[in-house]
């Protein structure tokens, strides 16, 4: 044998990718529900999008706690004596909890039909919702030795992924409203286009990076991970839905539903491959 090294495990397994996926959708759905206080075309989404957002928030929170090796200690993240504000995870924990609390208050205002407080909470909640994909992006960005992760693009990419995946789910919740469907189609097109542009940029900087980045590019574009990242994430989950939505079929219900399903598959595939892509190489070091 010419070489020996011990094996290393990946720090963050696929549960994190699922968490990124559900929390991104949850924040976008809340944003759409909040927009309904200001834009009439979003009105059919107010209740449905909020309920779906809240359920996904709960699922995401449980996933995050469940993945800790000491789940009972998750409250440590709320202990002011322990908190380390240099860590994006600390900000993320606080963001998640404050978003959850605002979402509960928002629920009561929504049920009461309180226009003034509903709008206030919609704005506060939307800002906190925006913080969720941003902090998940920062979770990855701050690791300076990880190719693909360590780019300022990551928080923005996660916001884009959140909007496009959230719009895909919301398109199933419009109660058949023409105006809401059209709004979701536009949202999918614009955010999907932005995600596509960012992915091209990400691939470019990775391919032309240093040794680590170059090898990571190889992992991301070949083998099983290549199939997931390029095949499912970029082609089936980003390019095809955009083409479909631009075609006449995309204006019809069936075309939009197909695009939404593809976007969701692609959104999960992209998060999974970005999460794993940044970790594979390190396991051989």
């Amino acid at each position: 044998m010419n070489e020996y090294t011990v094996f290393h495990t990946m720090a963050w397994p696929s549960a994190y990718a699922i968490y990124f996926f559900v929390i991104g959708i949850s924040s976008a759905l809340f944003f759409f529900s909040a927009l309904s206080w200001f834009r009439e075309d979003y009105r059919p989404l107010r209740e449905n999008a909020f309920y779906a957002s809240f359920v996904l928030l709960a699922v995401g929170g449980l996933l995050l706690i469940g993945d800790l090796s000491q789940p009972g200690r998750f409250l440590n993240i709320l202990n002011p004596a322990y908190l380390n504000f240099q860590s994006p995870l600390a900000w993320g924990g606080l963001n998640l909890i404050s978003f959850g609390l605002v979402a509960v208050l928002y629920f009561f205002m929504m049920r009461k039909g309180d226009e003034v407080n509903g709008k206030r909470l919609a704005i506060i909640g939307s800002l906190l919702a925006l913080g969720l994909p941003i902090y998940t992006g920062f979770d990855l960005t701050v690791h300076q030795h990880r190719p693909v992760w360590n780019t300022p693009l990551m928080p923005v990419l996660f916001v884009g992924l959140s909007l496009v995946s959230g719009a895909a789910v919301a398109s199933f919740l419009t109660k058949g409203s023409e105006a809401a469907n059209s709004a979701m189609r536009r949202m999918m097109l614009w955010s999907g286009g932005a995600v596509g542009a960012m992915l091209i940029s990400l691939l470019g900087t990775t391919a032309y990076g240093g040794v680590g980045a170059e090898l990571t590019f190889m992992f991301l574009t070949s083998g099983t991970l290549g199939l997931i990242f390029i095949g499912l994430g970029i082609i089936a989950g980003t390019a095809v839905p955009i083409v479909l939505l631009l075609a006449p079929l995309g204006r019809q219900q069936v075309g939009m539903m197909t695009a939404s399903v593809l976007i969701l598959v692609g959104g999960m595939a992209l998060r999974y491959s970005i999460l794993y892509g940044g970790q594979i190489l390190q396991t051989y070091y």
């Binding site: 020996y4 290393h8 495990t9 440590n76 322990y82 908190l83 701050v142 051989y284």
Partner: protein
Amino acid sequence: MTQELLMSSTETRGKPGVRRYAMVIDVRRCIGCMACQVACKAEYDVPLGVFRTWVPYRVTGKYPTVKKQFLPRLCNHCDDPPCVRACPVEATYKLEDGGFVLQHYDRCIGCKACMASCPYNARFMLPEHRTYTDITKVVDKCTFCYHRVIQGLVPACVQTCVGRSRIFGDINDPNSEVSQLVARHATQVLRPEQGTKPHVFYIGADRSLTDYGRAVYHKDEQADIERAAFNRNKHI
């Protein structure tokens, strides 16, 4: 090092009045006996499948001029440790006097952010069951044998090293052996471009071992088999 080069408030190398422990590993002296690895395992009851220190090797060259090159590895006790920044609950911290990067086991939530942030793979998750120790399911790593050093001893791996390949001491003391070795020899650190300012210095390390290298194109299947077996038993 001059004060101007200190990039962050956590750095203590060259800081007056504090000790800054470091290890020098002269790989020309390493014979690959793995005694350091065994001593470490014995000192800490390190479970099967995980390591605080390990000694990978690579055979380089072409017959008849082949060479087996060892590169003992451990936590680099960085002067600017990314794991300390990444930990959301300050379970990982750096001691100012000594520069040890240590762990509060009772505070660790097991989010593995420190593992993700370490460029050296120095951290690992302790499994659910251990033979003699009840510290489980938290992240662990090399401590530079803090408990021994504060008693005036050297780390277990240094103590046991048969070829005196590993030398340990205070690099802030200009008369220490590590200071003199670093001053007199060309030394390498692992992944200097990451800005972590590691405090494990290598003498004679080959770049084929310190860099990623093209070996990744030809993955070590044995490591994959071992990793799969380890994960199948849900040790982590």
